[in-house]
């Protein structure tokens, strides 16, 4: 078990012949991901890394059962690629591409919502069900199977924390990157609900950052959760009004502050780490305590 993707997930790679698409296809295959087809308009009928390439998602779906798609397509064409995957009936679509216009994001997410499909991203590192399926760009070696569910807005910060968990022998059930843009497919609550239901997940790590109010919304749901949540919020030292890389990471008009988020999460019962490398220790403590109680 895991959430959203698993050992049996048949994965399509859109843009499989591009530089990024090809490199990460190799990495995903090396991780054990069940990639069964790729798309590249005009290159239908060829193969790459032993994977059959099709001209369109529909063409791939006519020949294979596809469960999920990961998109490595330049920003200007990414909306079309995501709509294509959704229209073909694929229910999990990972949009790695960054710099997609926000109006395009609104349109593709509205369409996904209508079709009851899950969009991970845009501007995400992707999703890893550790030891089973990786869709996206995280480095393979840091993701080992275990019982910690991780959900984050930011990529490398997640590698940092997951890498440290792994270094301490703490594996992960699934690691989900929601994406760094202002409009993305998933909310923390969407993912927390899945972790709450997933029997394999025992502890959840939430990696947030300043800006927006999704951490505050998450806090509301955490109150109802039976599983322990450990959180880290990046941007404590960021000055207000400056946008820190992500479209979301900005403190505007006194909203989305570090203190507000930490307070909401702590009140909801989450353990909040002050620095990223403190997370594994807190998780370990919870796991040790729970196993000693059993």
């Amino acid at each position: 078990m895991a959430i959203l993707v698993d050992k049996t997930t048949n994965v399509l790679v859109q843009g499989i012949t591009g530089k990024q698409g090809l490199f990460h296809t190799q990495q995903m295959l090396a991780y054990g991901t069940k990639i069964i087809a790729g798309t590249s308009p005009g290159k239908g009928g060829t193969t790459i890394e032993g994977i059959p390439v099709f001209d369109s998602v529909r063409a791939a779906c006519e020949n294979h059962k596809i469960d999920a798609s990961v998109i490595f397509i330049p920003a200007a064409y990414a909306k079309d690629a995501a709509l294509e995957a959704l229209e073909a009936g694929i229910k999990v679509v990972v949009v790695v591409t960054e710099h997609i216009p926000v109006h395009d994001e609104m349109i593709l997410i509205a369409y996904a919502r209508r079709l009851k499909a899950t969009v991970i991203g845009p501007n995400t590192f992707g999703i890893v069900s550790s030891g089973k399926c990786k869709m996206g760009i995280p480095p393979n070696q840091f993701f080992i199977p275990g019982s910690v569910g991780v959900v984050a807005r930011s990529g490398t910060l997640t590698y940092e924390i997951v890498g440290n968990l792994t270094a301490q022998g703490i594996g992960q059930s699934t690691v989900v990157g929601m994406g760094g843009d202002r409009v993305v497919g998933l909310t923390f609550v969407d993912v927390l609900k899945q972790f709450e239901q997933d029997p394999e997940t025992k502890v959840v790590v939430l990696i947030g950052e300043i800006g927006g109010n999704s951490e505050e919304e998450a806090a509301e749901y955490i109150k109802e959760m039976t599983k322990p949540v450990v959180a880290y919020i990046a941007g404590k030292s960021a000055p207000p009004g400056k946008r820190m890389g992500h479209a979301g990471a900005i403190i505007e008009r006194g909203k989305g502050t570090y203190d507000g988020k930490v307070k909401a999460l702590a009140l909801a019962g989450a353990k909040v780490a002050e620095l990223p490398f403190e997370v594994p220790g807190i998780v370990k403590e919870i796991i040790d305590k729970e196993s000693s109680q059993q």
Binding site: V102, I109, A110, G163, G180, M244, G245, L275, P276
Partner: protein
């Protein structure tokens, strides 16, 4: 990209949104001429990308063209929040019966456009009490429909059959078209003035999505970034100047923020935020270092956790720079992730031992900067 008020009003006019008579000028003689053309009392408004110009005297009302010239001269001498006043907008002075607020922006939580309206316009919307703000989320697949605008007008307590009610419905429809067609993040009219039978956009605030500028080529270009920030942006780097003395570079917004947080925790003060993003090559890395050095730091921390970014690429880039130019301050590097062994070997060749853990590397950088 934020647009100047006068640019926003040009776009308003393009979409049939009512604006005051007036035009943009860049000289005080031009201001006098514009005032004469308009006739009667005018308002002269500094064109700067700051919302606070009114409070610091950046807007002047005059009754005739000679006075316009004098007022313009005065305004051209001002700086508003560090921004010099170089452009003025001269407009007819409106008779104001009522000031409304109207905006469309993007709501991250519901992932769709939201129309915001209030009958308490003219002040910062943040200062308006929640119960006086009307929010209407727009289904982006359905778009703006007549009934949506009508219902907002009803909630504003403006009669639907009145000429101002009908005018407002039209304005909402056109504002939404503009929002969609121009890839706007925000379109705001504050105040939207009721003046007799007319409803007029007395101000304009438009922010265009930077990521969509490639398909909005007919818009005028407005540069908000400092020179250094712009140079960084052009290379795909996200760079923000801060006021400490330790140069910071990391890859990814989150880990860069985490690096700053950790640096602060250990008593260091960052000189900058620099997110090198994914997959930066030699040129990008060289530029990144240059930007960091331009802040005259006492030490530099480079914190790389490679995903898309490959450690060997970063290391090669850094090594080639180190060979070709003098780096006058100590550099601490933390390097893990994709191809980390290769990367570390390359760094070793240029005499740098990469760190495993960010906290150790950051501690070292603070130490090397000599504390405060």
């Amino acid at each position: 990209m934020k647009m100047f008020e006068y640019m926003g009003k040009d776009i308003f006019a393009e979409f049939g949104l009512p604006i005051p008579k007036g035009r943009m000028v860049t000289t005080s003689d031009g201001a006098a001429l514009a005032a004469e053309e308009i006739g009667g009392p005018v308002v002269i408004k500094s064109q700067v990308l700051s919302g606070k110009r009114g409070k610091v005297g950046g807007i002047k009302f005059v009754d005739h063209s000679e006075a316009a010239k004098a007022a313009a001269q005065e305004l051209f001498g001002m700086t508003i929040q560090d921004l010099p006043v170089e452009i003025l907008l001269v407009e007819e002075k409106l008779q104001i019966d009522k000031e409304l607020y109207l905006a469309i922006t993007i709501d991250s939580a519901t992932k769709q456009p939201v129309l915001i309206a209030s009958v308490h316009g003219g002040m910062d919307i943040e200062e308006v009490a929640d119960e006086h703000i009307i929010k209407k989320y727009i289904d982006i697949e359905l778009g703006m429909q007549n009934f949506i605008a009508c219902d907002v007008v009803r909630r504003m307590n403006i009669p639907l059959n009145s000429s101002r009610g009908k005018e407002l419905v039209k304005i909402m429809d056109r504002l939404y078209k503009l929002f969609i067609q121009k890839d706007a993040e925000l379109v705001e009219i504050n105040p939207l003035v009721i003046s007799g039978d007319r409803v007029i956009a007395a101000d304009s605030k438009i922010t265009i999505d930077d990521e969509a500028l490639y398909r909005q080529q007919d818009l005028p270009h407005v540069e908000e970034r400092t020179k250094a920030e712009k140079a960084a942006h052009d290379l795909g780097l996200s760079f923000v100047e801060l006021d400490g003395d330790i140069g910071v570079m990391a890859n990814g917004a989150g880990i860069t923020m985490g690096t700053l947080d950790t640096l602060s925790y250990y008593g260091g003060r960052p000189a900058n935020f620099l997110d090198a993003g994914g997959g930066t090559g030699v040129e990008g890395t060289a530029k990144a270092l240059e930007l960091i050095l331009s802040r005259n730091p006492r030490s530099i921390i480079i914190n790389i956790f490679g995903g898309i970014t490959r450690c060997d690429d970063v290391a090669s880039a850094f090594a080639s720079i180190k060979k070709s130019r003098n780096i006058p301050v100590p550099v601490v590097i933390r390097l893990v992730g994709t191809n980390q062994e290769a990367g570390r070997a390359i760094l070793k060749d240029v005499g740098i031992e990469a760190y495993d853990f960010m906290q150790d590397a950051i501690k070292k950088a603070v130490e090397l900067a000599g504390g405060n």
